[in-house]
């Protein structure tokens, strides 16, 4: 009697989407990035079912960061004032698959910079690198609604990934992202039910589900990663079992969350080991853990962490 096949099989798959528009597609990107497509859980099933290799989006801030620890500032010290040069360095030296421009500087509690600034930064980064961009709002609804439509317009036709939209604030950015041909990031506060709801809301506005990437406010190692992990895992299984409202690729924000942890940034902690290693290790551990739950794009910050994580990805998604 033959040994029965026990590997789990799924009927659904994660949507596959390609970010970035090259010249042929009406953009100026020199490369594109395809994510998604998984037909099984990570490590589950055959290599063919693993889908596209997860990718790293490196953070570039629109304004010089004021709260980054020295360990994190060090690799970028000569480019912190120039988002274009910063992005270039990430791509050319550190192997970024995507650049994520994070518009922290427009936040009213930070530098309260205006739309003209954000547009300038967007254009600068578009010019400096050929990889596709992720364009990420500051999190203040009112300011984001003023600025992000302009940012979207400045990158019109480039097939960027733009966000984030939430259950309470999704209409203006969803409409403009649709008009400008971008992909959209829907956000939920570590809540699977709200994640689904935001997707339905965006879809009700006519935004194609196939152009959405979902984001759960990520928890870092020691700061709720188990919640993030189980939610990502549940979403992945929902996608694999055919829930079309949950079949989107996933992005998570490992860089920001990891470097908020005191274990990553505290220098005056003699018993904790070298400060220069701790941060990258914290970021690496967080990323590797979430990758196993099933995520497609990870936002990261430290070049050493990125090198290790990319090595991990290349090992696990070997056949790609």
């Amino acid at each position: 009697m033959p040994v029965p096949e026990v590997a789990e099989r799924f009927t659904g798959s994660v949507n596959r989407l390609t970010l970035g528009a090259t010249k042929d597609n009406g953009g100026t990107r020199t490369s594109t990035v395809t994510v998604g497509g998984a037909r099984n859980v990570v490590y589950g099933g055959s290599a063919a079912e693993a889908g596209e290799k997860p990718v790293v989006a490196m953070d570039v801030l629109d304004s010089k960061p004021d709260d980054w620890p020295d360990v994190l500032l060090e690799p970028y010290k000569d480019v912190l004032d120039s988002p274009g040069d910063w992005a270039k360095k990430c791509v050319e030296e550190f192997g970024a698959d995507l650049i994520c421009v994070k518009f922290d500087g427009i936040h009213p509690d930070k530098e309260d910079k205006d739309a003209a600034h954000a547009v300038k930064v967007t254009e600068e980064v578009l010019k400096a690198v050929g990889v596709p961009l992720v364009l990420w709002s500051c999190g203040n609804d009112e300011k984001d609604n003023q600025v992000m439509p302009k940012v979207s317009g400045a990158a019109k036709g480039e097939k960027c990934l733009i966000g984030t939209v939430t259950e309470d604030n999704y209409k203006s950015l969803t409409a403009i992202a649709l008009a400008d041909g971008h992909y959209l990031i829907t956000q939920a506060p570590l809540d699977i039910n709200i994640a689904k709801q935001v997707n339905i809301l965006a879809s009700d506005m006519g935004f194609p589900l196939e152009r959405i990437v979902t984001f759960q406010a990520t928890g870092a190692l020691g700061y709720g990663i188990e919640y993030a992990y189980s939610i990502q895992e549940r979403q992945r299984i929902a996608a694999l079992t055919g829930d079309k409202m949950m079949a989107m690729p996933v992005i998570c924000d490992v860089g920001y969350e990891s470097w908020r942890a005191k274990e990553a940034k505290l220098t005056d902690a003699p018993g904790w080991g070298a400060a220069g290693d701790r941060g990258p290790m914290w970021e690496t551990a967080t990323a590797v853990c979430l990758l196993q739950a099933g995520v497609d794009i990870i936002r990261m910050r430290h070049p050493r962490a990125i090198a290790t994580v990319k090595n991990f990805i290349n090992q696990v998604w070997k056949s790609q």
Partner: protein, 272 residues
């Protein structure tokens, strides 16, 4: 939930008339309406509408597939009628062969014939098998489960994937004298049938049969469907045009954690 729409059945007067008159339009409209309502399959049953059941089956299949690509559920206990339907069908999106008992006095090998026909119809063809054998429809829980077990093991023996197998524990009209114990028996049988293979075989029921001749038919159907979903029912032959019934399916599946909750869960279910 795999919903099989029940309306294209010769037991309904308008369908019977349409078969007699060869009026495609009635059938095609029913096919479209039920598809729009969320049917995964359309049941096709001649009932008593025609003497030439094979010809009527072919006419129905061809009429439906002229305008509609929803997979069909060919419904007859006569292998020749199913075979006639399969001759003219496009089964690319799947097809169900509904239904066969485990065996029959007049045809010991009937289940084998359905398996053979399903295999010939392609990898997406599935079978609905009734928990019924040559002794008829069992009234108790144990015999139902025992027949289901024989069906599952026979399918395995024949190399037929149990994921293509739907067990129908046969729901009887609740109004029939002394039949009121049956809905409860069926639920108890389902509790055991789902453990017959891993993953569990699908389970389906001909829901409307339950309320045959009773008053408050829709209410009876709706409540029982919710109860059965809680016991693992994952398919039903039902009136998909009953919007309340469809909402109950969405809600029951959500409550059983088969669908992730969202505030718009009804809409999410119907658009899935």
């Amino acid at each position: 939930m795999i919903l099989i729409a029940e309306r294209i059945n010769g037991m309904f007067t308008n369908v019977k008339q349409a078969i007699a008159d060869k009026d495609k339009k009635v059938i095609q409209e029913l096919a479209k309406k039920q598809t729009d309502a969320g049917a995964a399959y359309l049941d096709v049953n001649i009932g008593t509408a025609a003497a030439d059941q094979e010809g009527a089956m072919q006419w129905l299949v061809e009429s439906i597939q002229e305008t509609c690509s929803t997979p069909l559920c060919l419904d007859s206990q006569k292998p020749a009628v199913i075979a006639a339907g399969l001759k003219v069908i496009n089964a690319q999106n799947g097809v169900m062969l509904n239904s066969t008992p485990l065996n029959k006095k007049s045809d010991e090998e009937i289940f084998d014939k359905y398996i053979e026909m399903a295999n010939q119809a392609g990898p997406k063809a599935s079978i609905i098998a009734l928990t019924m054998d040559k002794n008829g429809v069992p009234q108790d829980i144990d015999t139902r489960v025992a027949i289901a077990a024989e069906i599952v093991s026979k399918a395995m023996e024949k190399g037929f994937d149990t994921q293509r197998l739907f067990i129908d524990p046969i729901i009887l009209p609740v109004k029939v004298p002394n039949a009121q114990v049956q809905p409860g028996n069926i639920l108890s049988a389902m509790d055991q049938i789902k453990y017959l293979s891993d993953p569990a075989p699908h389970m389906t029921i001909g829901l409307s049969n339950l309320s045959q001749g009773a008053s408050e038919r829709s209410l009876i159907n709706r409540v029982f469907l919710a109860m059965a979903i809680s016991r693992g029912l994952d398919s039903a032959i039902a009136d998909v045009l009953d919007q309340d019934l469809m909402n109950i399916v969405a809600t029951a599946e959500m409550l059983m954690n088969k669908q992730i909750y969202s505030d718009s869960f009804l809409k999410a279910y119907s658009s899935a």
